[in-house]
């Protein structure tokens, strides 16, 4: 049964709609994530679930019981939720131990102390209990916030941009730690963030939010390889669109060769490979374009970004179209150099073209370079 079920949630600030009929379904024990650019409404959804915001349409159910409906809202303190706030909102006048124990006021003292100590140990702060929040580092404060939110064994844990105040290195390490802690506690959780690496590190399933609705709710793998629309394709990962022509229901031809797709290629809505050589835009990720010195296909390096383990090259094809290629760092090529490339596309992603049609490049004698 779904632990959290949001159906048709809508909310507007004045004339400005923020959330427009959003649906979300999260199974018990799962970690979900709302991922989107700032202003997409994701934090508003979280505030609605927490009960800090009244819903104007739709319904929120927690464990099968309605907690928010238009005109009625269960009080936040009665919702059995735990929340980790963006700025942690630790209580500065209480010690770390008292912060964690705060939600456990109903318990007898020995029981409360034991649970507090267990929680502090879980987040690796067993020896820091007597300190005050301002004496801890940002990462430690974040873990206190997590321990405090988990103390009451909430039916649902809400995390509002919990890593945004941390430096990047710590962010990555802590995001895996946080996932492990939440999973160990067996808590259903929902994370809100604008950072896809965080989302992928923590969540089982991610919803891409844009303009008040979830554009796609899927696993991180599918979001990257099977984006449902252009917005998701653009927002997740890197890549460029190149022009292609649909050859058959499983084949698309692009400048760099013919791609074969496992799933049928659709030319556009209502046209599943109609045989009329429809034009489509084909998504090429940087990992789809592989550097290969033996390849007869070459492209000119127009830009390079050194990233340590690898280099992200921007390459110009014969037609003038540009593609990105992620190449191991020891293949160091200069700007202007022509390097051999081939396509290695597992997942062919196509969308109806948006740009006006341009004269198509037809590759001469290009062999089939796709794998499937």
């Amino acid at each position: 049964m779904a632990q959290l079920q949001i159906s048709g949630l809508s909310l507007a600030y004045g004339d400005h709609p923020v959330v427009k009929g959003l649906d979300l379904h999260l199974e018990s024990g799962q970690i979900g994530c709302l991922l989107g650019p700032s202003g997409c409404g994701k934090t508003t959804v979280l505030r609605c679930v927490a009960g800090f915001e009244a819903v104007q349409a739709g319904e929120i159910r927690l464990g099968g019981v309605a907690i928010s409906r238009p005109g009625w809202s269960e009080a936040p303190e009665a919702r059995r939720i735990g929340m980790v706030f963006q700025d942690y909102a630790l209580f500065p006048h209480l010690s770390v131990r008292d912060n964690v124990a705060f939600g456990l006021r109903g318990l007898a003292a020995p029981e409360r102390d034991a649970r507090t100590q267990t929680l502090l140990a879980t987040v690796g702060l067993a020896s820091q209990g007597q300190k005050y929040p301002h004496e801890l580092s940002g990462g430690q404060q974040q873990r206190v916030a997590l321990a405090r939110a988990l103390a009451r064994k909430p039916a649902l844990l809400l995390l509002d941009e919990p890593f945004s105040n941390l430096d990047i290195e710590l962010r990555e390490r802590l995001s895996y730690e946080v996932r492990d802690i939440i999973k160990e506690a067996g808590t259903t959780a929902i994370l809100v963030t604008h950072d896809q690496h965080e989302a992928f590190a923590v969540a089982d399933e991610v919803g891409i939010m844009h303009e008040g609705v979830i554009q796609q709710w899927d696993s991180p793998y599918n979001l990257y390889h099977r984006p449902a629309n252009r917005f998701v394709a653009d927002f997740i990962g890197q890549g460029v669109f190149v022009q292609g022509t649909v050859l058959s229901d499983h084949q698309v031809e692009v400048e760099l060769g013919t791609l074969t797709s496992i799933i049928p290629v659709a030319c556009g809505p209502g046209c599943a490979a109609c045989g009329k050589s429809c034009r489509v835009d084909v998504l090429l990720r940087p990992d789809d374009v592989v550097h290969d010195d033996r390849s007869s296909l070459t492209a000119e390096v127009t830009h390079k970004a050194f990233r340590g383990a690898d280099i992200l090259y921007t390459l110009r094809l014969a037609s003038g179209a540009r593609v990105l290629s992620l190449v191991p760092s020891h293949h160091n090529h200069a700007l202007g150099e022509r390097i051999g490339i081939r396509l290695d596309v597992d997942h062919v992603v196509t969308f109806p073209p948006t740009a006006p049609p341009v004269a198509l490049f037809v590759p001469e004698g290009a062999s089939n370079m796709a794998r499937h």
């Binding site: 927490a50 936040p76 059995r80 735990g82 929340m83 706030f85 209580f91 103390a151």
Partner: protein, 221 residues
């Protein structure tokens, strides 16, 4: 010029002055305690958002802050016998008046203090299952008081100085005691000088404490 002074009256009048000082301090403590409690309730009423409650609290606070303290002291002292039929002692009357009057000032300080605690702290309280009252009691007010402690203490120093106004209704505070002994020994100048030194010593050491607190709070925040 000081040669004409007779300081020997001071040791002799110390016990009597001590009684006066004790009352001044009592009045300060009572008015401060009562004023902070009543003032906090007024502040919560003003921040409650309920138009009747907030409006009534605002009227009270603004009225008190627009009337000179001396007039409030005198009126209360004169009106109570008319209402109840029997006079109330000047000392008790002053305690009630000061509490009611100072509450208006403390309420403004507490209102600023409550507003200085971020909304996130309140939400964090709710998210931990606390009710409004529990959140206020255990999260917001402790922080509000801590943030405002220097300002609260400064107001208390002013309050301590203002307690000298009760001599107008004849309550026996430090100033009244000085006046009486000064008259008895016919040495009013020496006595007034001496109590000025006492007022100064107490107020100045309190303001040093405020300065230290300010530094300490700045570090914690």
């Amino acid at each position: 010029m000081l040669a004409g002074f007779d300081w020997s009256v001071i040791p002799a009048s110390l016990p009597f002055l001590g009684q006066g000082l004790l009352y001044s301090l009592q009045l300060t403590v009572v008015a401060m305690t009562g004023g902070v409690i009543f003032g906090t309730l007024l502040a919560l009423a003003r921040l409650s958002g309920g138009p009747v409650l907030a409006g009534a609290a605002a009227v009270y606070v603004n009225t008190m802050r627009s009337i000179p303290l001396l007039m409030v002291i005198l009126w209360f002292f004169l009106i109570i016998p008319l209402l109840t039929g029997k006079p109330m002692g000047a000392e008790r009357s002053a305690m009630i008046t000061f509490t009611a009057f100072e509450a208006a000032y403390y309420s403004e300080i507490m209102r600023a203090g409550i507003q200085s605690v971020s909304r996130g702290q309140v939400n964090a309280g709710y998210a931990l299952g606390m009710t409004y009252a529990q959140t206020m009691m255990h999260i917001v007010l402790p922080q509000a008081v801590r943030n405002m402690l220097p300002v609260l203490l400064t107001q208390t120093i002013v309050l301590f100085q203002d307690t000298s106004l009760v001599y107008a209704i004849g309550a026996k505070d430090l100033l009244k005691a000085a006046e009486i002994t000064g008259r008895n020994y016919n040495r009013p100048v020496e006595m007034y000088l001496f109590v000025a030194v006492i007022y100064f010593a107490i107020c100045f050491s309190l303001s040093l404490l405020v300065r230290r607190l300010n530094r300490k709070i700045a570090i914690v925040r």
